[in-house]
């Protein structure tokens, strides 16, 4: 029996999803907006880079969302008592990855290893004690004779997995992409036909990779295990949610500040402008990491002081994560606000705003209907560009000691836990490598996607081409 629960971050994710959906719906309903937004969107999705990176990002987001459906397990009933629930919070991703989560070894083991990293005292075959590498409890445990069976087994499983991936790709391709098999995308619209065409190589690669992992991961530790024997692939997949949350929730916090204050400063000018400029110069003058560190230290003390409010470790680290997003948002709005201020300063002198004012339209309405839609492209560009920076920042902040909760699985904590292990002999490289590779792919995809979005939305950069 399980009981679904909502962590605070899950609630905010729902809010985020809902607002994205609302935005899309609004853009569809509003004829003018749909034309200005749909064109760039099509341009992004039609470019090979845009479509492939969007697909990779979608996979990451999918994993993150799966990891955001949380539940607790019901403990075995004791008669005469109400139902009890365990303190451990699981997610749907945990459920999918159950074999990975539960195959915990004793300590480090290399990728695809069948033996532990460290020697132990074992019972020899003829009695007596031998110092040797013990077999792993789970990694390659199904092999009777490792020396002889290892490679055939890996090749067989891997091959079958890739074959399944290929099949899945082919099925999906035939089902959805049939109309767009022609190499030239239909000109001027006609659905996302061009996108599907551009997607296929990336999709093929992803399908093959997924097939490979599904076939191999349950019986081997594909990326090895960490210090306490947890599977590194599992840790990497779980880290995705943390990274995505920091990248997106921070934006949710930052946007109201940047939009409200930036546009107001530019539009109203005068005293209001002075105050807002003073605000962001002050915030800007404090070294970024220090301000974040100061705020996180304060939050940390407060969380410790009110420990009774959080009944599970997950809830506590969740609140700390949200606090971090909040802090990053509150300290990070200045750049966008300055951009928006300059833009609003320009826009308010233009004829359409003048006309609106002459007709007696209220300030609020002018801001909402005339200025806001005209700065939306700046906002979108900044949001997408900031995303990758925030994912990277998480790792650095965790290293400084002011990142997410040390108990939370994140790229930063993975790197932090593994960086000293390079000094070992032989080198323990897999945990670092996995964290860096997963982060690199996410950030690279986000960066490339951001470039496409900017090219599509920014009139200046598209005019240059």
């Amino acid at each position: 029996m399980i009981k679904p629960i909502l962590l605070w971050s899950d609630v905010l994710i729902l809010v985020l999803l809902w607002s994205v959906a609302a935005l899309v719906w609004l853009a569809r309903e509003n004829g003018q907006m749909s034309e200005t937004l749909r064109g760039p969107w099509r341009q992004v999705m039609r470019s090979r880079v845009g479509a492939s990176t969007a697909l990779i990002l979608a996979v990451y987001v999918g994993i993150g969302l799966l990891d955001s459906v949380h539940y607790v397990e019901r403990l075995p009933d004791t008669p005469g008592q109400a139902a009890q629930y365990g303190g451990e919070v699981y997610s749907a991703l945990d459920w999918v990855l159950t074999p990975l989560r539960e195959n915990v070894e004793k300590t480090y083991s290399a990728p695809f290893a069948t033996h532990l990293y460290a020697k132990e005292t074992l019972q020899g075959p003829v009695g007596g004690e031998v110092r040797d590498f013990p077999r792993l409890k789970y990694g390659g445990a199904h092999l009777a004779d490792v020396e002889r069976e290892f490679w055939p087994d890996v090749l067989k499983r891997g091959g079958l997995g890739m074959l399944a991936g290929l099949l899945a790709w082919f099925m999906g391709y035939r089902l959805t992409g049939r109309s767009s098999l022609s190499p030239v995308p239909p000109p001027g619209g006609g659905g996302d036909g061009g996108a599907t065409f551009a997607l296929s190589p990336t999709l093929l690669f992803l399908c093959l990779l997924a097939g490979l992992l599904v076939a191999l991961a349950p019986v081997y530790h594909v990326f090895g295990t960490d210090k306490v024997g947890q599977d590194v692939l599992y840790l990497s997949l779980k880290s995705i949610r943390t990274g995505l949350l920091i990248g997106s929730l921070t934006t949710l916090v930052m946007l109201p500040f940047a939009l409200g204050l930036g546009i107001a400063a530019g539009y109203f000018g005068g005293r209001i402008d002075d105050v807002i400029q003073y605000l962001y110069t002050t915030l800007n003058s404090i070294p970024g990491v220090l301000l974040i560190a100061a705020a996180v230290l304060v939050v940390q003390v407060q969380i410790e002081a009110h420990a009774e409010l959080f009944n599970t470790a997950a809830a506590r680290s969740d609140v700390r994560l949200l606090a971090l997003c909040g802090i990053l948002g509150v300290t990070g709005w200045t750049g966008l606000a300055r951009l928006l201020r300059a833009e609003a300063l320009k826009l308010r002198e233009l004829e359409f705003v003048m006309a609106a004012r002459a007709f007696g339209v209220s300030h609020g309405r002018i801001l909402l209907r005339h200025l806001l839609p005209n700065v939306m492209h700046l906002v979108l560009i900044t949001v997408v560009l900031d995303f990758s920076g925030l994912v990277l920042a998480e790792a650095v902040l965790s290293y400084v000691g002011v990142g997410v909760d040390p108990g939370m699985i994140s790229f930063g904590n993975m790197i932090n836990g593994a960086r000293l292990e390079l000094a070992r002999e032989p080198v323990v490289w897999w945990q670092l490598a996995a964290a860096f590779v997963f982060m690199f792919v996410l950030v690279l995809a986000a960066n490339l996607f951001a470039d496409q979005v900017r090219d599509a939305l920014d009139p200046k950069s598209s005019a240059r081409k």
Partner: protein, 325 residues
């Protein structure tokens, strides 16, 4: 000019006051001195007397803004805000929570910081701008595309990777440099070379792309066409005209960080064991020594504002049209 400087200094005061109030609010009102005492005493020794004793030892046993027991001016002067926050304006940093004098630490630690930050800054600037100019020179060719792709890839790699990878390759595998540590005097270069190299490489993707975009904007302007029409070689156009005119946007981003070089870099210094201000700060953060964090925040803001003034001054040097009045 002098008028302008005076005005800028006056404008700096409310900003620094704001910074002061903000940190004061964070460290004294959200987190009371009692909380601080509890952290430093550890969970075992928390008694009411111990907290009071810790507070009086460290000078935290005053009211926040208004002291009713004192007489006259001391009513407002003998308070935490004046003692711990306003004194920073006189660069009186006071003692850290472990009892050591912060000002002395800053004076001794800023040299190692500077020894890393200054070469990093200069070499970096040279490298990024040359790389960007190279890409602009070969614009529209495969080389440019490859360079941009390389930049995007480089900037997608976590900064920690460069540090850890650099230490592993250059320190452990190839034995070029000691992995970490520092030695004052002339021998310092052995310890400085690797951190400088790593930090220059770490931000090459980001910066080179930024400068490339900047030069591109410049190259689309009319004066460049005129220069070419005069028959100038492409190299001459780039170095004399484009670089010269791009100086203003370059300076905007560059000069402002110069004063802050004193504060060093948190990550680089702590990874490479350099006893500079960056590692001082990071140690303070990890030990939750709020007195040091407050001082560093103030120092950072002060240096930033100094950087803004320097930026304005530097405009007058590169652009004869700019006059500060």
């Amino acid at each position: 000019m002098l008028d302008y400087l005076i005005r800028r200094v006056l404008y700096a005061i409310p900003i620094l006051l704001g910074v002061n109030l903000l940190t004061f609010a964070l460290f004294f009102m959200v987190n009371t001195p009692d909380d601080m005492a509890r952290i430093h005493l550890g969970a075992k020794h928390v008694t009411a007397e111990a907290i009071t004793r810790w507070k009086s030892e460290h000078g935290y046993d005053r009211p926040l803004f208004f002291n009713e027991q004192a007489a006259g001016v001391a009513k407002a002067a003998d308070t935490l805000f004046v003692e711990k926050s306003l004194k920073l304006f006189a660069l009186d940093f006071g003692a850290a929570d472990d009892g050591r004098d912060i000002a002395r630490e800053i004076k001794t630690r800023m040299w190692p910081s500077l020894a890393i930050a200054l070469p990093t800054f200069l070499i970096g600037l040279l490298a990024y701008i040359s790389f960007a100019l190279l890409l602009v020179f070969f614009r529209g060719t495969r080389l440019d595309t490859a360079g941009v792709v390389l930049c995007v890839a480089l900037m997608s790699i976590s900064g920690l990777f460069y540090v850890i990878g650099g230490q592993y390759l250059m320190g452990k595998l190839w034995h070029w440099f000691p992995i970490s540590g520092y030695q004052p005097g002339l021998d310092a270069w052995k310890f400085l070379l690797m951190p400088v190299l790593v930090s220059v490489v770490a931000s090459i993707g980001d910066s080179a792309r930024f400068y490339r975009a900047l030069f591109f904007e410049e190259i689309a302007k009319d004066y460049v066409r005129t220069a070419r029409a005069k028959g100038l070689s492409e190299l001459r156009v780039l170095f004399r005209h484009v670089l010269g005119n791009a100086m203003i946007p370059i300076l905007t981003g560059v000069v402002v960080v110069i004063p802050r070089l004193f504060m060093g870099s948190l990550i680089i210094e702590s990874f490479f064991g350099i006893p500079g201000l960056g590692s001082y700060t990071i140690d303070a953060i990890q030990a939750q020594d709020f007195a040091i964090v407050r001082s560093m925040v103030f120092l950072g803001s002060l240096l930033y504002i100094l950087g803004l003034v320097l930026t304005d001054l530097s405009y007058t040097l590169v652009d004869p049209r700019v006059r500060l009045e």
